[in-house]
Amino acid sequence: MQGFALYPFDPPGDIAALRTDLRDWLAANQPQSDVVARANCWASFDASFSRALGAAGYVGMTLPTQYGGSDRHPLERYVVIEELLAAGAPVGAHWIADRQTGPLILRYGSEEQRQRYLPGIAAGELYACIGLSEPGAGSDLAAVRTTARETAEGWRINGQKIWTTGAHFSHIMLALVRTEEGSERNAGLSQLLIDLDTPGITIRPIIDMAGHHDFNEVFFDDVLVPHGALVGERGQGWKQVTAELGLERSGPERYLSSHALLVALIDAAGPEPDPAITTLIGELTAEIWTLRQLSMSTAAKLAAGEDPMVEASVVKELGNAFEQDMPRRVQAIVTSGWDDENDLAKLLRALLIASPSFSLRGGTREVIRGIIARGLGLR
């Protein structure tokens, strides 16, 4: 496969010390939350944890110090992220802001936007959400219809976003909107940074099948935001969003978000499990070990300034499949009632219900495979 070189994961600095410090910090600061909150943990919201993590310098790590960041290497950030996920830390509140909105503002935002938003993001206090999907634009993102018209006072926004994770607790939304009247498909789109307390915005909860309120519909009814809300170049929204999706797809969260289940399985099995469980543990370990290599190599490529769109998609596809497989395979082998209250049973139930979303959020399996097929020269 041409251009599919493996990049060595070679972060600068003392990585072992970084891990030890963070593990110590987590031991002292991680809330003793319910075991279920440790699974799918980038959806677990805990504002005081996010603030403490920010104060300790583990949020916005790659942002320059002048904006409150700590100017660390992206691969140092990677190490921190995988430690947080492996520990099941409740990183959901600041997750999107740290992972994609912050880096995007740094890259494309104006100086004013950087000064205004980045310090809050790095402090783990300012949360963001992603306004891409619309009722008529899911997989077909270029069908976005929400409009922003430039007027003398600023941008006037009308339309609707949907499935917006965390809109109900976020301060800002980075939205993809149609700024050129009559434009079609991926032309004429721009990104706007919208303060969610602006008048005319209505956020309605959508309750998911687990009974949780994670995502929302967001309505824009003649919402007026300043001219300065435009991020990057007018009309370049599509290009910017694509770059953002690269950040979204290859991280360790694509295979470590349900790590708590594997931990619980191993702990429940004890040091000498029966042969069938031993086999399952071995199989899952081979998968997670390999996924980690793939994800690290992709992170290294990203850190080297290249665009690993295809590699990131490979990580997402295999990671999603692994995380969807794991609860099914554990359930197939472990004797456990649906309503049992031990850790393993609770985790199993929660992840079985959550897992269909893994291959939807961040791009569906079919879309992701389409990107890989393009990388193979088939499209």
Binding site: M1, G282, T285, L294, R369, G375
Partner: protein
């Protein structure tokens, strides 16, 4: 890749191409048996990264010749097999891509059909996973000074992962090739049959899963993560 390794790979490609018709002799004569022998003993002084690169090429061109046995000792055969498998899977993928880009049905190349694209994407993911496993195993072996016992975790994980990829890769490769891929004259079986053989050689899925599972059960839940991070990066 280093310039030295590039040169090594160029040589391997040329020598293996000759060996494809002439048998193992050209590989022996070219000195590949000395790849891991230190320079002070008049060897090539290569590391496992070199072996991995050479064996992947062997997996593409001469999957039936005993190149792995020539280069590395018994304890390293499971690791060597992962490299061969990565190469052979890469070959199955490139044959498949070439085929679907040329073979026309319903008035267009097969590769233009979404169902075919999706299958090949799934296959590519598996190939990529095995390449990554082979590379990570190589760097672990190099880090521990080619001590197979110190890389037992990685050998088990990589061989098991490669074994599990065989089913997907061979099934999809043959599916998209249709009947032509099932013939003796066409090249696909030259890599798919060895892949099926290697899946059971030097430890099948059950063997490595049990071996890895026992190690991990000993680590404990949290211990697995600590062990993985302590063993590299």
């Amino acid at each position: 890749m280093s310039a030295a390794r590039d040169m090594l790979c160029d040589t391997a490609r040329a020598v293996f191409a000759e060996a494809a018709t002439a048998g193992i002799a050209p590989v022996e004569e070219a000195g590949f048996g000395l790849l891991l022998v230190p320079e002070e003993n008049n060897g090539f002084g290569g590391d496992w990264g070199d072996v991995n690169a050479v064996l992947q090429i062997a997996g593409v061109i001469v999957p039936d010749l005993p190149v792995a046995e020539l280069i590395a000792g018994e304890a390293f055969q499971p690791a060597a097999t992962v490299s061969l498998m990565a190469g052979a899977m890469g070959r199955a993928l490139s044959l498949s891509i070439d085929h679907v880009n040329t073979r026309q049905q319903f008035g267009r190349p097969l590769g233009k059909f979404q169902a075919v694209q999706q299958s090949l994407a799934a296959m590519a993911c598996e190939v990529r996973a095995v390449e990554a496993a082979a590379a990570a195993l190589a760097s672990r072996l190099d880090a521990v000074g080619l001590d197979a016992a110190a890389a037992d975790f990685e050998i088990a994980a990589a061989k098991l992962r490669a074994n599990r990829a065989v089913g997907v890769v061979t099934a999809i490769a043959h599916q998209v090739h249709g009947a032509i891929g099932f013939t003796e004259e066409y090249d696909l079986h030259r890599v798919t049959v060895p892949l099926m053989r290697w899946r059971g050689a030097h430890g099948n899925d059950a063997f490595w899963a049990a071996r890895l599972g026992r190690q991990v059960a000993g680590f404990g839940g949290r211990g697995l993560w600590e062990a993985m991070t302590a063993r590299g990066a």
